[in-house]
């Protein structure tokens, strides 16, 4: 091989980039852990491919799922992606806790560089490839149903967003096997992530994975905002939308305006690294504080992008399982909007220690505390919704209650951190780590888990197992408290975040407790998979085809479970806030319409998969400096988009006769089902038809 050909073909790839080769050449525990993780990625992919091939499901998968533009299927695929990434990032968290527990005055088993990769991937994945896909998936599934629409405004764009996110997540997985990941944390601060300090491929993996994810989220936000503004059914005024739609709308607006700063930050960092620009370098006029500002101009609204959808979920869940109208609907809407606006005014609190004037810090500190007010309003509204309601402690309701307690606690520590002088003391310590996990685990994860338990019967037609749901819930809550409360103590005691080892023996017991907590959190995830397994096995006993297992309030419960691909045979018209709940009490909501019409649904398209795969390979080419590959993929993406603009046959007609057949089958089932009271909704008696009481 000549020197010229090899780099031209494969860029800076060498055999040593493979985790397996590194472990072979240098078989330390550290390298073997790396190779083991790489092996799990390779084996996992191989097993999945083998299962699909052996069962002959490729055609089915391609036609029914991968190329589908149905918002419901896209939503489910997003959630599946989120769970896969959750499993990886949680495993990394456990590894880090074990390392820290082992490394008090000892080296532990993970080397510093590897540890840095662990916390970088853990953070990046949890935010961009677990939380974002999770909430995007739930929003995708639920909002069009809730506003009485047949799909989102731009179904193809939706598929492109999914595939770009999936491609970016794939890139994260590839980084385990080929090369290494960034050691610069999930926020990727320069100048450390500049060429001068991190010349390897790690930061490039981070840059391109995050950039793809960021573009996908911008497009999702655009899609949901237009859907909510323009696709609502007759009578569904803005102030009649379910609260989940309101939080979706605010999250979408935040995505539209807050993702671009992230794209700019990563793009400028890429210019620095690839073309020798000087935005954030130490020399020639670079200024890394510009990066900090750009990143947190995204980063703080991002917190609310993550939390607002969960607020929406809790509003739906608490109202449904208390059999009461949501208390203070208007105040909840206003609070949501207020949070969305305020979220753009607090970003400096992420770097109070930058060295700006005390007055500036005071302004941002006060703005930060102000956000506590609308959030407090929400908590009280939920409590008042439960007051004198017929409260049932189902799994989603348990998550909602755990959220209210835990989130308030995290909010208090947030107020503490909003004082700049106090922030100086605990900046960059585990106190901060405890705080944001205390916000995001109840404020995102519990919410999304509540959402999956709540809407799962709608999406798949059977209820999830209650017992395993409760076990999992218990583990998520106990695990959280054990894993993160000690970090407050450690942080206040001066333990810095992102440390591979500690030298203070007094930290040891707290690190042990946190380690146990991490293991319990892992158990929680395992129980969730167990629950899914048991629920699928027992699905015939728990079917709720009639579609209304919880005496639901919004339109999404007025179709069968799972809903037909066109959602509604006849577009509903509403005249109030809880149209289905009130409709059940006022008259016959299940009455068949006199006639059915042909319904147009979007035809499948391979543009989504093509864009996502080309995007991921383009990113891979850029990471490894394989320029021909990058150029080829860029051209491919442009050609795909242009070719698509020439396609005119983009809709498929579901004939009226088919609609009638599908709807009649459902109505026959309803006629045969026995309505159940609220006391029996967690039993097999629940066939998805609610007994109507006054």
């Amino acid at each position: 091989m000549t020197d010229g050909l090899w780099p031209a073909l494969l860029g800076r790839f060498t055999w040593n980039a493979l985790a397996f080769v590194r472990a072979w050449e240098n078989p330390t525990v550290n390298e073997i852990i790396g190779a083991g993780a790489a092996m799990m990625v390779v084996l996992g992919a191989a097993v999945v491919i083998a299962i699909i091939t052996v069962t002959g499901k490729w055609g089915y998968l391609w036609r029914e799922w991968l190329t589908s533009l149905d918002h419901k299927k896209i939503g489910i695929m997003y959630v599946v992606l989120a769970f896969v990434m959750l499993a990886r990032a949680l495993a990394e968290a456990v590894l880090m806790r074990m390392q820290q527990a082992a490394a008090v005055n000892a080296p532990g088993f993970v080397e510093p560089d590897h540890f840095a990769q662990l916390f970088s991937t853990h953070g990046s994945i949890m935010i961009f490839f677990m939380a974002m896909p999770f909430l995007t998936g739930i929003i995708n599934y639920v909002t069009p149903l809730q506003i009485g629409a047949r799909d989102v405004a731009f179904p193809l764009l939706n598929s492109i967003s999914l595939w770009l996110t999936g491609g970016a997540a794939g890139l994260m997985m590839v980084s385990l096997v080929i090369g290494r990941f960034s050691t610069g944390g999930w926020s990727g601060y320069p100048p450390y992530t500049e060429l001068g300090f991190s010349p390897d491929v790690g930061p490039d993996y981070w840059i391109w994975a995050v950039t793809l994810g960021s573009i996908a989220s911008t497009l999702s936000g655009l899609n949901f905002a237009v859907t909510l503004y323009k696709m609502r059914c007759p009578g569904m005024t803005l102030m009649r939308m379910p609260l989940f739609c309101w939080t979706t709308l605010c999250t979408s607006i935040l995505m539209i305006f807050a993702m671009p700063p992230l794209t700019v930050a990563t793009a400028l960092l890429a210019l620095d690294r690839y073309l020798g620009f000087h935005f954030f370098t130490n020399d020639l006029g670079g200024n890394m504080m510009n990066y900090a500002n750009l990143f947190w101009l995204f980063g703080h609204p991002e917190v609310y992008i993550l939390i607002l959808p969960a607020f929406g979920v809790y509003s739906e869940v608490v109202s449904t399982f208390s059999s009461k109208e949501l208390y203070g609907y208007t105040s909840l809407v206003l609070a949501t909007m207020a949070i969305a606006v305020l979220s753009f005014t607090v970003w400096v609190h992420h770097f109070f220690t930058m060295g700006q004037s005390a007055n500036l810090n005071a302004v941002f500190g006060i703005a930060t505390m102000t956000i506590g007010v609308p959030t407090g309003v929400k908590i009280y509204d939920w409590i008042w919704t439960m007051f004198r309601g017929e409260v049932r402690f189902t799994v989603p309701m348990l998550y909602s209650l755990a959220f209210m307690m835990t989130f308030v606690l995290g909010g208090f520590t947030g107020i503490l951190l909003a004082f700049p002088p106090l922030d100086y003391l605990v900046h960059n310590t585990l106190f901060l780590v405890a705080h944001f996990h205390n916000m995001l685990i109840p404020g995102l994860l519990y919410g999304m888990l509540a959402a999956t338990h709540y809407w799962f019967p709608k999406a798949f037609g059977f209820r999830l197992n209650e017992k395993w749901g409760r076990i999992s819930f218990g583990c998520w809550v106990v695990g959280f408290y054990l894993a993160f409360m000690p970090l407050y103590v450690l942080g206040a005691g001066g333990a810095t975040r992102r440390s591979q080892a500690f030298f203070e023996p007094a930290f040891r017991p707290w690190l042990y407790v946190a380690g146990v907590g991490a293991l319990i959190l892992l158990t929680a995830l395992v129980s969730l998979f167990m629950q899914l397994w048991v629920s699928i096995r027992e699905r015939d006993d728990n079917r709720v085809f009639a579609g209304d297992p919880w005496d639901g309030r919004g339109l999404e419960w007025s179709t069968s479970a799972p809903p037909p691909e066109y959602n509604y045979a006849v577009i509903p018209a509403v005249d109030g806030r809880d149209p289905f709940y009130d409709g059940k009490r006022d008259g016959d909501v299940y009455a068949a319409p006199t006639t059915y019409e042909d319904i147009a649904v979007p035809r499948n398209s391979m543009v989504g998969p093509a864009t996502g795969i080309l995007g991921a390979v383009l990113a891979f080419g850029l990471v490894w400096h394989i320029w021909w590959l990058a150029l080829l993929c860029l051209g491919g993406i442009i050609a795909t988009v242009i070719a698509r603009s020439f396609v005119r046959d983009v809709e498929r007609i579901v004939p009226a006769a088919d609609v009638a057949r599908i709807e009649d089958r459902w109505r026959r089932m309803i006629a045969a089902a026995r309505p159940i009271s609220r006391h029996h909704e967690m039993t097999s008696a629940n066939q998805g038809l609610a007994e109507v009481t006054a």
Binding site: A153, L222, Y229, K230, L268, L284, G285
Partner: protein, 208 residues
């Protein structure tokens, strides 16, 4: 909906086109949102440029690197291209023959390409004078902001070519009309961004 009512921002597509109107509502609104998101990107790059004005590190400054003549010519060309695109939109609305419409689109395309040619020539001159982005933070921020606008114009030109192929193939069907409407918004948006670049970057830089 009644035909005269415009439910979307942008040009009324004519009294007979109710379907196109219905469809244009989310499509055009969505494109406005995209433009606003894109505007955030430009706004941030302007802000970065503002903070980096002083970061010349002994290298070329705004006054020494910019040339008013060619940038003024670029401004005139781009403004004229907005006018020709406006004429294309009017031709589309009032049912002019495809030849007239294509003529105006072609004029816009020629002006767009001319703009790009001049801009590239500018960049070449700057590079020749040692004003390269690797020289200083100030020049980095210039070469992120202004060429990004150029890339947008390039994308607009490509889009123009695609539309000029689609008009003869599909005639003025609803999707062609909506896409021309969106391309028009895009083109005028780039004009507005350029005006900001001309005043904030070039004029301000040369006044000092």
């Amino acid at each position: 909906m009644s035909a005269g009512e415009v439910k979307h921002a942008g040009l009324n597509l004519g009294a007979t086109d109710e379907d196109a109107h219905e469809q244009a509502e989310p499509d055009v609104f969505g494109f406005w949102i995209f433009l606003m998101s894109d505007a955030v990107i430009f706004a941030l790059l302007f802000a970065i440029y503002g903070t980096m004005l002083g970061a010349t590190v002994g290298g070329p400054t705004a006054a020494s690197a910019y040339k008013i003549g060619p940038t003024f010519a670029e401004t005139l060309i781009l403004l004229t291209s907005s006018f020709t695109f406006g004429m294309a939109s009017i031709a589309m609305k009032h049912g002019a023959t495809p030849r007239v419409l294509l003529g105006w689109l072609a004029a816009t395309l020629i002006l767009g390409v001319a703009f790009l040619g001049l801009e590239l020539h500018d960049f070449a001159t700057m590079t020749g004078d040692g004003a390269v982005p690797m020289r200083s933070g100030f020049l980095s921020s210039f070469f992120a902001l202004v060429p990004l606008h150029g890339l947008h114009v390039l994308a607009g030109c490509l889009w123009l070519v695609v539309m000029m192929v689609q008009v003869p193939i599909f005639g003025l069907d609803a999707r062609v009309k909506i896409n021309l409407l969106r391309l028009g918004l895009f083109w005028h948006f780039l004009d507005i961004v350029w005006i900001a670049i001309f005043s904030v970057v070039y004029l301000q830089g040369l006044i000092r």
